[in-house]
Symmetry: C2
Subunit: 360 residues, 2 copies
DNA sequence: GCCGTTTGCGAGATCGTTCTCGCAAACTTG
DNA sequence: CAAGTTTGCGAGAACGATCTCGCAAACGGC
């Protein structure tokens, strides 16, 4: 039975309907202090009858906590990273009684700043941030967060001294190189996003986002492990747009002696390899080999399957929530830098150059 | 300069610091009523100096609106639907000054009910719901929403009489059939999710979620258009898990005379076709043709490219936000049932059976 | 039957804002 | 220069919940 007054029923309406005071109604429903069983029953029934729904805003204001965490992500589709991370965070938060206020920065630091400001004004209990850029992170410093805890995900910001959950992309990429070299590859291409130096082909990248830097360092380490000389490492930087990375792939394949395998630092670039190689009639896993970071159902089932460095994205999301909630509910947790292990999943996109039949 | 008191600075602190009253400070910062320019300046500076951040909770309580919308989605990865929809909704909401509180139901009606209850308690101004199931939708009726507007996305719930934004999957699937038949296909397989009747192979599905039903009806209509008799339509229902759909694909391909083309109602099932066909050495676009609903970067760039019915998911998200915000800001909008046009993108996964060279 | 303890409940303060009033000072006008 | 109008500001109520107190009634023991 819905009341016909315009405003939603409040606890005062419940109290009136049950013939008790505001305080008693609150006690009966929230179950603190002393209330007789009969009164509890009467108040509960009254609340049901008038369709009472507690106003969480008022409760939060009194209590000083909203049971809401702010999530600031970078939505990129193709890597299936955004959705896997978001879903795992939303689910993990719900399990612990928290809701998620989500913001997307699209890698724009100004948007990130504004999003965080808004989330703080909405009094989130804590923040999980996938930082959009290195440098310019004053807005993430403890002093500007109003004392609310922060967990960084996917990318480290070393000078911040805050708990961070990432994947070990260094080791992952290094292993990927080891695997390809083991299959006989000796000339390696590496395609990597770095908007600021797109077009460059040096092997020593400047300041990069930690996740990208780890992959670059892992590639370099893997090549060094195998004794691949610099002249057999073809580095290409590109912007994070298809045109740029496709041009880079084309340039690589146009070399007098092109790399036999291309490592890409994300799925977008792997798709560019697929596209450019396809348009030239070069078969993946035969004429061109491919390894990328991040698994996806498509990478697994297409023919040939794509060899990938799989990252435990769901685990990353869950851990971020776990650490954040721990800090919210009992402040003073030690700062941790958690690196989750990746897994190399070898499929058919890396040709075995050792077998005599290979290469047709 | 951060104050050393434990609580975050409030407008009272600003007022004290500026030597004015609470009311004047509020006026100066919010810019209503009359305030002298000098006072505005003084208050602004005071706010800056003590690092004042308005408490949106308090403002929302007073104002009766939170500038927050609740989003209830079904997170399924492979279709790249969740992330595209979520991103477009979050971005469109931000553009209009709204934040998004997100919940994932994983298609569980009980979770959906609880999520909506929580969102309403948090006083969202409106809801966008991707409903998880037909029937059992009392919790979505206007009376149980405390007067807050609702927009349904992706799936219709006809008895609710609420504004709904969907894609025209009926026409999309019908066109896909027309396209395949035009290329010479005369025996058609259709793979569709319907947990309740998994394993069935009848052509008349029972109560289905509207999006799935539309695709089934579109397939039936397309087959009828082309005069394909029922015995040349191979319908297969499966649960929304790989094992189930893979079994269905295997069954289809094991028929004495298997369909030459398989239509799948989502990307999960298309991947199952890829997997099962791949494991049998059947080449897509040669021995087996494939069409699916929902485009993705992978579908475009793999070899062969997958023919798809592309849905304007971003537009769907934006429109849902637009309609919802319109209703929030000026109630009494007409109820609309918006169907966005889909687009058939022909690629190489459907073999041209008319060409003599086909099939080798 | 008296005094001390427990029990149940209500009055009122509080969280941080916004906004309506009313009041005094500063202007305008004839 | 008196009367009316505008300007700037402060006091206090309101949003809807929680929670601390204090008070009265009921209960206990001797």
């Amino acid at each position: 039975m819905v009341e016909r007054r315009s405003h939603a029923p409040t606890i005062i309406d419940v109290a009136e309907h049950a013939g008790v005071s505001r305080a008693t109604a609150s006690r009966a429903l929230s179950g603190y202090g002393r209330t007789s069983a009969a009164t509890v029953e009467r108040v509960r029934r009254a609340a049901d009858e008038i369709g009472y729904r507690p106003n969480e805003l008022a409760r939060a204001m009194r209590a000083g906590s909203t049971s809401t965490i702010g999530l600031v992500v970078i939505a990129d589709f193709t890597n299936a990273f955004f959705d896997r991370a978001t879903k795992s965070i939303v689910d993990a938060a719900r399990k612990r009684g928290y809701q998620v206020l989500i913001s997307n920065t699209d890698e724009d630091p100004d948007v990130e700043r504004g999003a965080i400001e808004t989330l703080l004004e909405k009094q989130v209990d804590g923040l999980i941030v996938f930082p959009s850029a290195i440098g310019h992170s004053e807005h993430l410093e403890a002093g500007n967060l109003g004392g609310r805890p922060l967990v960084l995900a996917d990318r480290r910001l070393d000078d911040l001294g805050v708990t961070t959950v990432t994947t070990d992309d260094f080791t992952g990429t290094r292993e990927a190189v080891r695997n390809a070299v083991g299959l006989g590859h000796a000339r390696l291409g590496f395609l990597i996003t770095a908007a600021n130096i797109a077009g460059q082909t040096t092997a020593r990248p400047p300041a990069l986002i930690s996740s990208v830097r780890d992959r670059a360092d892992g590639f370099a380490a893997g090549a060094a492990d195998a004794g691949i000389p610099p002249e057999d490492q073809v580095w290409h930087f590109s912007e994070d747009v298809p045109e740029s990375s496709e041009a880079a792939v084309a340039e690589m394949l146009d070399l007098a002696s092109p790399p036999t395998v291309i490592f890409t630092s994300n799925n977008d670039m792997a798709l560019s390899v697929l596209k450019v190689a396809g348009s030239r009639g070069l078969a993946i896993g035969r004429e061109v080999s491919l390894v990328t970071v991040d698994d996806s159902p498509w990478a697994a089932y297409m023919v040939p399957g794509i060899t990938v460095v799989a990252r435990p994205v769901e685990q990353l999301g869950e851990l971020a929530v776990e650490r954040l909630v721990a800090e919210i509910e009992s402040p003073g947790q030690p700062v941790e830098d958690i690196q989750l292990p990746t897994e190399l999943i070898p499929r058919a996109s890396v040709a075995d150059l050792r077998s005599p039949a290979a290469g047709r």
